[in-house]
Structures are given as C-alpha cells and as structure tokens.
Symmetry: C2
Subunit: 329 residues, 2 copies
C-alpha cells in the first residue's frame, strides 16, 4: 500500500514519571527534537508536535520546535498536531508555518483542530461557547491567506501550504473537512474500525458531493508502542494509565484499567501497542476497513523511557512500515 | 571595556540586487541562518533577526528562524530585532520566546519596539493612531507574563526572559524603558554621539529616579560593514543606497547620496562602515560619549554578497571586538 507513516509527540509530562524519574520541560523538549532527528534518519515520513496550554505538557508553540527539528533534518515532514486555531491569529499561524516551510525547504504542514482541553480558551480569552463560530471564521481566514489574500511574507515553498483538519470524532468536523476538500486526520482513540469507517464514509461522501473527490485524504492518529515482546508491550500499562489519568481532581482524562488497556490492544480496538507483528496486523486490518493515506502514531507518552521510545520508533521504521508498504492495497 | 558585541539581520531583500543577482525569500532565509551559525563559531555574543511585513523583507516571524539557529549553535544569544509587539498577542510572544529559550538552553531574548513601517498595522488590523496606548497595554501584559501571571508553558530557562526595549530616538520610548527598568537598545542611524547622549542621559535619569539604577543597560544598533580596505568600504555605497531607497513611489525610505554616505562614515556620524581600524575608532569614540553595554551591528544589508558579509563578520569578531575589549573603559 502507499501510505505515509509518521509519529507524533504531544509533549505530555508529569513532574515525575511512574518509574520514578523526575522530568523537566527543557528535557522533554530536547527529547522531542531528538525524536524528530531520529525519525528522519530512520526514514519515517512525518513528525507531528502537539500544542497544549497546561503544565501537563511541555510544548505550547510547535513552530519553533519544528524549526529546530528542520535545522537538523533533510527529509521528514513537519506538522503541528494540532494547532488550536481558534485561539490564535490566523495571519500569525500562516506566517509561522510559511517560515517553517522556507526553513525546511518545503516540509511544513499545519494541522488545525479543537483543543481536547479547556485551558487555551481560558488563557487566550476566547469564549469556548462560541467555539464553532470562531473556528469556522478563522479557518476561512486561513484558507484565504493560503490563496494569497492578504499576501503575507514569507511565501511558503509549497503552494499552498498543506493544511489538514484534525478531528476527534465529531461528524460536523469531518463533514466540514470533506466540504472544504481538506485532508482529514482522525483520532482513533476509542471505538473500532467500523466506527472510524462511518466517519470516513461521511468525509468521502461530503467531499465528493462538493466536487473534491480527487483531493480527499484520510489520516489516522493513534497511540503507539512497538515492543520487543508481548511482555514489554503489556508492561507499558502503568505509563499508559499515567498518560490518560485526570491530573487534577475533576480534571479531564480517563482512568484506564489494566483490563481496558489489554482489551484496547486487541484487533478491533485502537491501541497500537504490541510487537511489530501485532501492530502490523492491526494496521493492515484498519487499512482494509477505511483505506487511510497517512498514519501518525503517538510515540512518546506517559513518561516512557527515551531508550524504549527510540527502539519503538525504530521498529516502526524498520519492521512495521516495510510490512505495510509491501502489502497489497 | 566590557561590552556584548553582536550582529543583526533585518532580512531586507529586493528581487534583484544592485549587482544583478536575483534573490529569493528562501535563499535570504538560509543566508540569515548561516550568518547566525557563523557568528556563533566566530565568538560573537548575539544575533538579532528583524520582523517585517512587506515584500521588501524575507522574515516576518523571527522565533522559528532563531530556533533553527539555536539548533545549530551552542553559545550565541538570540533576539528579535524587533518584535512588533503592538500587533501580536503578548501571550503568544512570551510562549514563542520561552520555547526558544528552552530550545537554546537559555539564550533567548525579546526586543520589542515600534515598526518603522505601517504595513504590520494594516495587515493585523491594528489602529496605528492608537499605537501608544496599545503598545503600553501589551508591554504591561508581557511584563506580567514574565513574572508568571498568567502562568504559561514552557517556563523559560532564564527567569525572567530578557526583554529589551528597542527605540529609534523617541524620548517617550526612552523614558518608558528607564521608568520600567528595562534595558534599552537605541538605533544610531542618524545624528551624532551627542544626540545619542541626550537620549541615554534621559534613560539613565528616568531609570535612576524610578529606583532601577542597577538594572539599566544601553545597547546601540547601527549599520555595519567591516572592509578589507577603504576602497572596499566606499564601494558598498550602491548597496547602501539600495537598502534605504524608497521601494515604491511615495513609500518610506531615504535616498542616500554618495556624499551623505561618505559623510556618514566620518567619526561623529553613525555609519560603522570602514576598515576594522576605522570602525574600531568610531566605536571607541561612541563608547566614550555614551558608555554602551551592547552593540548590535546590522551586517547584511542592501544585497551585499554573502561572501563579503562573512568576511565583514569575521573582521568584527576577530579584529574589532578584541580591540574594543582590550581598551580601557
């Protein structure tokens, strides 16, 4: 199959990992830049860096992080994952990523979406109750900027700058991406391939109806760990639990039981956590269901030790990606 | 004397240089990143990158450019020159430069100031007639953010993030910097050391009156070229003329005659364009007049060939800087 295979980091961080290592924002940031360099060397297609606005994450502004990766790499594509467009000035977003595109020789992308958390709205003083309206207006501005109105500097190397819609599962977001003929990246964090299929069917139907049939592309974002053994895969559970647990009383998040974690790793469920063979089988199964064009696998969550993350990324590049590419469509 | 010595680039660019070389935004951007790497290797203390919003400049967003330089350097300090604060969200400015600070291991600075051009106000929809009020309010926000209110992520390595006020010569701006106890960088683009002295006297008097005597620092920004010979220095005139000429009928800028250029290169005038000996003499003379703490010399203007810029930067690092540092205060 022809599919772009990449990784992402959300920069999640706690003061201390579940295995007792203290962390810093600076250390976490350095790890992410190294991860980008390593993914480039390993031949992966893409790295995405998330934007968050609470102490539970190290990165609030992906563009400078991606620029630092760009300066040390030559091939890998670079995207936000996601830019919280509704709290920013679309002009500055376009300038930042056009600058990244120039720095990287045409490797920048913007992925815009809704924040999974309320913090950015409070911080930037944007009324979360007017989210839909504000997002739609800013997306329209960004689309105009991409087509040169108003003209801004620098002009990206890619014309226009690639722009993806990131969606968690809202049919309205999916239909909007289709209607605009924009590529769509779907979070596969719960449910099953059948559930995703309903969303990709909606996307493709809306897109084709709007005359964008040849521009439609589907990406999938999922949680990933490529382990040396079933034992190593299962042993990541405490990290996964720590990654998703609510970080404050009543705060957002999920308490994932070990049973739910184990269940999530089965064929029809979203967790891409297992040996290379297990993950390859799940990704092929998902491809049969929805025919994706891009994978963006969250590689460094819950304080996994950096050496394990590196090995996992090398399994993706060296074992899983070749197996996917060699398979029939 | 103890003085920080650095360079700056405003990224000025025309489609074709006066000596007939076509240019691109991407090429100009790559030159600036290389200039930062070279300045670091040569031992200079600082590189500043300007922000502009017209086609006459390649860079609109300095933070990603500085991040790319940070990724390839280990020592040089990195600043905007200047951030047009009045058109941006101070929260995002602080996040971008705190991110740069983390990437660079504590080498980021923000220099804020008024744009010399009207384009940013038109582009971002900010009323230029309300400039003073908007700038003052956003500077107040930025100062609060630096002291942790509201708390944003990432926290800079430096606490607080260094913040300079860039001023062209407005006594009000100079007095504001003094009253706030912020370091001040003054453009020395016309006038004489005596003229600058009136401004630094005002800055120091205002600062001392406000109880900030020990926090006051003065930087000087000037146009620079360190030549191998008087002949090479004089021959830069067509580039200097092209740098400053109005780029559209009625547009901003100055037509600099060859006589004014030559006059500007004399001891009591601002152009730091000459042999290392000539420039050193002028900088010592200026230091006697105003006692600056930092120099930020515009190194790559008017389409000067990159090889000449590199040689000029090496003269600054290898000949002028040592001569200044060895001189008595």
């Amino acid at each position: 199959m022809s599919v772009e295979i990449g990784i992402a980091s959300l920069s999640d961080r706690q003061p201390c990992t579940v295995d007792g290592r203290p962390t810093t924002e600076a250390g976490r940031t350095a790890e992410i830049i190294e991860l980008g360099v390593q993914a480039d060397r390993a031949g992966l297609d893409l790295i995405g860096v998330g934007e968050h606005h609470s102490r539970d994450f190290a990165v609030s502004s992906p563009a400078p992080i991606l620029a630092a990766i760009a300066a040390r790499t030559g091939r890998i594509r670079l995207t936000s994952a996601v830019t919280v467009l509704s709290v920013h000035d679309p002009i500055r977003v376009h300038q930042d990523f056009a600058t990244l595109d120039v720095i990287s020789g045409g490797r920048a992308e913007i992925t815009v979406g809704r924040s999974a958390y309320p913090e950015p709205f409070a911080l930037f003083g944007v009324d979360i109750n007017r989210y839909e309206e504000i997002f739609a207006a800013k997306l329209e501005s960004l689309l105009r900027l991409r087509s040169g109105s108003p003209e801004t500097v620098p002009h990206p190397v890619q014309d226009p700058l690639p722009l993806w819609i990131g969606a968690g599962g809202s049919p309205a977001s999916v239909a909007r991406a289709g209607a605009l003929g924009l590529p769509l990246i779907l979070g596969y964090l719960g449910g099953s391939p059948d559930h995703l299929r309903r969303l990709t069917d909606l996307y493709r139907a809306t897109g084709e109806q709007a005359g964008h049939g040849d521009r439609l592309r589907v990406g999938v974002a999922a949680h990933y760990f490529g382990a040396a053994s079933e034992h190593e895969a299962a042993a990541t559970y405490p990290h996964y639990h720590d990654f998703l647990r609510p970080k404050s009383p009543g705060g957002g998040g999920f308490v994932v039981s070990e049973q739910a974690f184990t269940e999530g790793r089965t064929l029809d469920r979203p967790l891409m956590i297992g040996t290379s063979e297990q993950v390859t089988e799940k990704l092929l199964h998902l491809h049969q269901a929805i025919g994706y064009d891009r994978l963006q696998l969250l590689a460094d969550w819950g304080g996994l030790p950096q050496s394990q993350v590196h090995d996992s990324v090398h399994r993706l590049a060296g074992e899983i990606a070749p197996a996917l590419r060699e398979s029939a469509d």
